[in-house]
Each structure stands twice: as structure tokens, then as C-alpha cells.
Symmetry: C2
């Protein structure tokens, strides 16, 4: 059942039917009723392909997921972020287009997305320092919003980010207030923008108390359980081990916990751990009471908001970029406590 057939059945022109369904004013209220009812009855839904061609809009948003050819890691926060963004798209009648491409092919993908008109805009994931995608997208005129920020980028751009620096600063201060002075950082890969900001927050916190940073207590790698385990095991074996860990994610935190327990130490008593919790639905930080003390910020909510920002941007391409900084909460769990006296 298409527009024309429906129009014939109603004894109206396609024009009028189209207008009736799309809420244009130049159609009799009674006629509109009739049209709506018929559309319902015949189960009519306009063909999106035709709408897209006629309007020149894709009614779709692209997410380009680069698969790193080196370390083949799919970002664990991806599923929840997508779920959040997807909620927004469903609500607003947009489609979500996912392109999974080798990371050396990302440029071409954006160009093709643009020239084929497949999407109205894109979301940029996991920005790195001096991220080249910002210049590329600006150049080809593709609207975009970055989830995160790209330190070092000179062009203006729209973004939504968590205040990672502040989150890790607060976490550091919290540990310092508990009497910890040997605080380790188990960070993500430090070419990622968020990781840099977190490190900066950590360093800032230490500096404010005149504690010189100790590179043996600073670790950076992919946020896997194993990496967290290795980092913590290694640091706990130091002659002057840390009494607290600041950890980049729930998953690495589980590795850290394993190392702590393997060393015969007790979490929250001998060793304090604060993680960053993206509030992933399949990795809840405990049920009622949180397992880990954490800086928490829902990546799903971020997905919802970023998607909204992009749709706004597409519908009203204002010259001034949209920016939004979310604060992470610091939630207290069972993994932190006062620094052990013996080591203070």
C-alpha cells in the first residue's frame, strides 16, 4: 500500500493525502480525519526510501566504529552508549547507521557517508589527542558531535564529555583525605583524550598536597582485566608499594582486585581502590551497595544526550558549537578505607 493507492481509495490526490498525514494546515479537518483513519486501516506507512529521496534528508545518524587492526578491541562501553543513543533515535524517528571499518579506512568511510548522503550527521567516538577526524568532518561539511573531547584540536566543534579531570581529582583528594599518600594510577591508553584528562586530575590532586608523582605508580594500557591484574601485581611487589589505586574502569578494577587478593591483602582495609564506573548495565557495580568506590557517570545517558545534541545540530546548524560537560558522581563503596597505620 503506497500513497497513490491510498489516495485513489480515498478519492483524493496524493498531495492532499501527504499533507493530511504530515500535519500541513491546508487540509480540511474532516478530510484529515478520514485520511488518518484510512492510513490506519490499510496499515499504510510511507516508504522511507522515497521520503529520503524527496526531502534530501537521510533521517539517519551514523556511528563509525573503527576496528583497530592492531589490538582488536571493541570498546566495552559501546553497547550501552549505543543503547542510549538508540533510545533517542527511536523517539525522534531517526535511524542509526553503524559502520564497522578497519581504522585505516575511517576517512574514506566518512567521505562515502557524505557523498552518498547516507546520514545527516555522525557521532565521533573515542577521540584521541589531536584527533584528525575533527578536521576531516569539518572539511567535508558533515555535521558531527564528539563523545569526549580532543585536546589539541584547533577547530571549533560540538562535544559532550564527562569532566574526567575533575572526577579523578576528586577521587585523588578523597584518597588523600583518607591518609593515603602512595596512590597508584591504573589508566587507560594515554593517547585517548579521556585518559590524559584523568591523569591530569590525578597529578593535580597530588600536586596540591605536594606529593611528587612517582612513575612506578603510573600505568597505562588497555582496560582489560588482565592488564589491571598485571599492573597491580607489579606495583604491590614494589619495595614501597601503593596503599591505594585509582583505576580507569570496572573491568580493570576487577583485575586489580584479583591481584590484591592474590597478594593476601583485603580490599577496603589493606588496599583502597577507586574505579571509574561507566554504569554499564551488564557490569553493575554491586547490587544495593556498591562494591567499588567509584567516580560514576552513565555512558548510556551520555549516548542519549549526544544523540539529542546531534539531531539539534542537524536541524539547526548554528555557527556556534554546542558543548556540554557532565560531572561524575563520587559514590562510596566498600573498596576504600583509611590508609593502614603501619604504612602511613
Amino acid at each position: 500500500m503506497n500513497l497513490k493507492e491510498l489516495a485513489i481509495k480515498l478519492g483524493l490526490s496524493p498531495t492532499t493525502v501527504s499533507r493530511a498525514l504530515n500535519g500541513y494546515p491546508e487540509v480540511n479537518a474532516e478530510t484529515r480525519e478520514r485520511v488518518m483513519a484510512a492510513a490506519q486501516r490499510y496499515n499504510y506507512a510511507p516508504n522511507t526510501r522515497a521520503i529520503r529521496l524527496a526531502t534530501g534528508r537521510a533521517l539517519a545518524v551514523g556511528h563509525v566504529i573503527p576496528i583497530m587492526t592492531r589490538h582488536e578491541i571493541v570498546n566495552p562501553v559501546f553497547a550501552d552508549f549505543i543503547a542510549g543513543a538508540g533510545e533517542t533515535y527511536s523517539r525522534q524517528g531517526y535511524d542509526m547507521l553503524l559502520s564497522v571499518v578497519p581504522d585505516d579506512d575511517e576517512d574514506r568511510t566518512y567521505r562515502v557517508l557524505k557523498s552518498r548522503g547516507s546520514v545527516d550527521g555522525v557521532i565521533v567516538h573515542a577521540p584521541r589527542l589531536h584527533d584528525p577526524r575533527i578536521a576531516l568532518l569539518t572539511e567535508i561539511g558533515m555535521p558531527f558531535v564528539v563523545h569526549g573531547r580532543a585536546t589539541g584540536s584547533t577547530l571549533p566543534y560540538s562535544w559532550l564529555d564527562v569532566n574526567n579531570r575533575r572526577a579523578f581529582l576528586r577521587a585523588t583528594e578523597f584518597l588523600l583525605d583518607l591518609g593515603h599518600t602512595r596512590i597508584a594510577l591504573v589508566n587507560g591508553l594515554e593517547f585517548m583524550d579521556f585518559a590524559i584528562r584523568r591523569r591530569n586530575g590525578y597529578l593535580e590532586g597530588l600536586a596540591a598536597r605536594n606529593i611528587p608523582p612517582d612513575t612506578t605508580l603510573m600505568f597505562s594500557a588497555e582496560m582489560t582485566e588482565s592488564a589491571g591484574f598485571r599492573a597491580a601485581r607489579q606495583m604491590l611487589a614494589l619495595p614501597h608499594p601503593p596503599t591505594a589505586f585509582l583505576v580507569a574502569s570496572m573491568i580493570s578494577g576487577m583485575g586489580v582486585r584479583r591481584a590484591v587478593e592474590a597478594a593476601g591483602l583485603t580490599l577496603g582495609r589493606d588496599i583502597s581502590v577507586i574505579i571509574h564506573d561507566d554504569d554499564l548495565s551488564y557490569l553493575p557495580n554491586g547490587d544495593d551497595v556498591p562494591i567499588f568506590t567509584a567516580t560514576r557517570s552513565s555512558v548510556r545517558e551520555a549516548g542519549r544526550l549526544v544523540a539529542e545534541m546531534l539531531i539539534d545540530l542537524v536541524n539547526d546548524p548554528a555557527p556556534t558549537p554546542r558543548e556540554r560537560l557532565l560531572e561524575a558522581e563520587l559514590i562510596i563503596g566498600q573498596s576504600t578505607g583509611p590508609a593502614p597505620k603501619a604504612l602511613q
Copy 2:
């Protein structure tokens, strides 16, 4: 730059240019060269919206992700599965359309996807017993492939599944061979088809050795770390506790491990654990040597294959459904060992 403009620049008709680019035979080799070169030079890419309308094909595959309104869990294997499927789509020139919808709205979503012509087919995720989606999709004539199977469904349908029954049967046998007789099952939600099959494999393994199943050793819940922890803690506190656990996922396995260690027991010595490992890229089961003994099957590879099956199906709607059963490997890690003598 569109077809017409390109045709004018070349002094040819749009027909010829279209045919040249699409490899039709009725065009001079020399002319084709010229057209290809010009397309390259002017950076011409055909507008997908027009192609879709003209051909009546969506050149897109849909993935409908139901967000359960109750327990808001996004499937953790989702990201890797999507990554795998996405690789296939990129390779074959298809778009991947993701719809995130409340689970009570899934039906409507499929109908709309069909009547609007947004996709050529869909992948059905996470089938349950008697899954109603199979009848629905068959009824509305939407090509689909199920990732998994739906026990109880009477209609024929195409699917790709891991032999979950066999995997858990083998894992059970492996534990039995090690002398374990008190084997616990920490399963996923048992309205999910894969969970039922795993339980069946487990029960079959026990039955073959004349071990009656013990319901106090059978647990079923969402596959979270906390759920795994709770299940194991509870079972380990039993008067006659298990010496081995069969666990549905890496994540629940981590919870089980935590409970084991919290009970002062050692994994692989006092307690054996076998997990099912979906080979998620962000949750590797150890680096070089596996942490957990596991039944392993790459969900990413499954994604690649399911997507291929669907595209085949769309391009050649054969009457006989396509079926494919993958076997899981049993890989030996550090989490299993002979049953402790004292408890045997």
C-alpha cells in the same frame, strides 16, 4: 556531483554512465574506462537514497535490540557480535541499521521496518523458548536469520547457533573425569534458549554417570558479576558444597571466583570452574595462558557468519532454511584440577 552532471561532463547519457559504472556489458570498454576515470576524478558516488528507491532494495540489514523494561540489561556480547556482523556488511556494501526499542514495542518495530522498506532483512538476537518473533517475521514476509535457536518453534527458519548442549556436556564430562561429583551450574536466565540447552547438556552429562541432579546446585539469573558471586557464595555455604562450577559467562565467572576466594579457597585446587567464553575482545580470558578453563566460541565470528547467511538469504530466497551449528572448543586454563581428595 550526481549522475546527470557527470553524464553531461562526459557527453554521454545517464543511462550509459550508470551502466558503465555498474558493470553492464552493453557499453564499450573504452567508454567504460573514460566513465570510471571521470567518476574517480570528480569524486562521484551514487546517491544511495536514489539507488534504494529505484531498485526497491534497502541495501541494509536491521538489528532490533530490545531494551527490557524490567531489567535494563544490554547484552554484553552485543558489541562483539555487531562488530563481526558489521565487518560482513562493510565488505558486502550493506548498511547496518540498529533499532533500540522497548521490548514491548518490538513487534511494531518489525512491522514498520517492513512496511517502510527500511531493510532487506533482520537478524534476530537472543531467542527465547517459543520465540514469537519467528512467527511474526514469517507472517509479514521479512527475511531473517536467528542467532541461536528457538526451541518450541514449529515454523522452519534459518539460524546459526553454537552447540551449547554439547559444549556443556563436554565441560561436565571433563569435570566428572577429574573426579568431581558435586558440580554446580550457574546458568543464565532460563527462558533464553541457549541457557536451556546448556542446562540440558549439563543434566545429560550427570545422567550418563548416574548422578542425580541437585537443585540446590542449579542457579539461574542474569549473567552479572554480582549474580555469579551470590550464587557461588550461597552454594559454598551449603553443608555439602560443590567442588566445581559450570558458569555461563566470563562475567559471572569473575563473580564466582570472587566468592571462591572470599571463602578462603583456591581456584583450580579447591574449586574448579569452567566458564563459557564468548571470546569478547574486551574481556579476554587471560593473555597467553587462559585464566579459566572454558568452552569457547567467538561471538564475533558468529556475527560475521550470521550476517553472511542473511545476505545470502536476501539475494536468493530459497525455500529451504539455512542452518549452521558451530562447535565450541574446550580450552584448558588454570581454573580446573582434580577434585580434592577430602571431598571426593
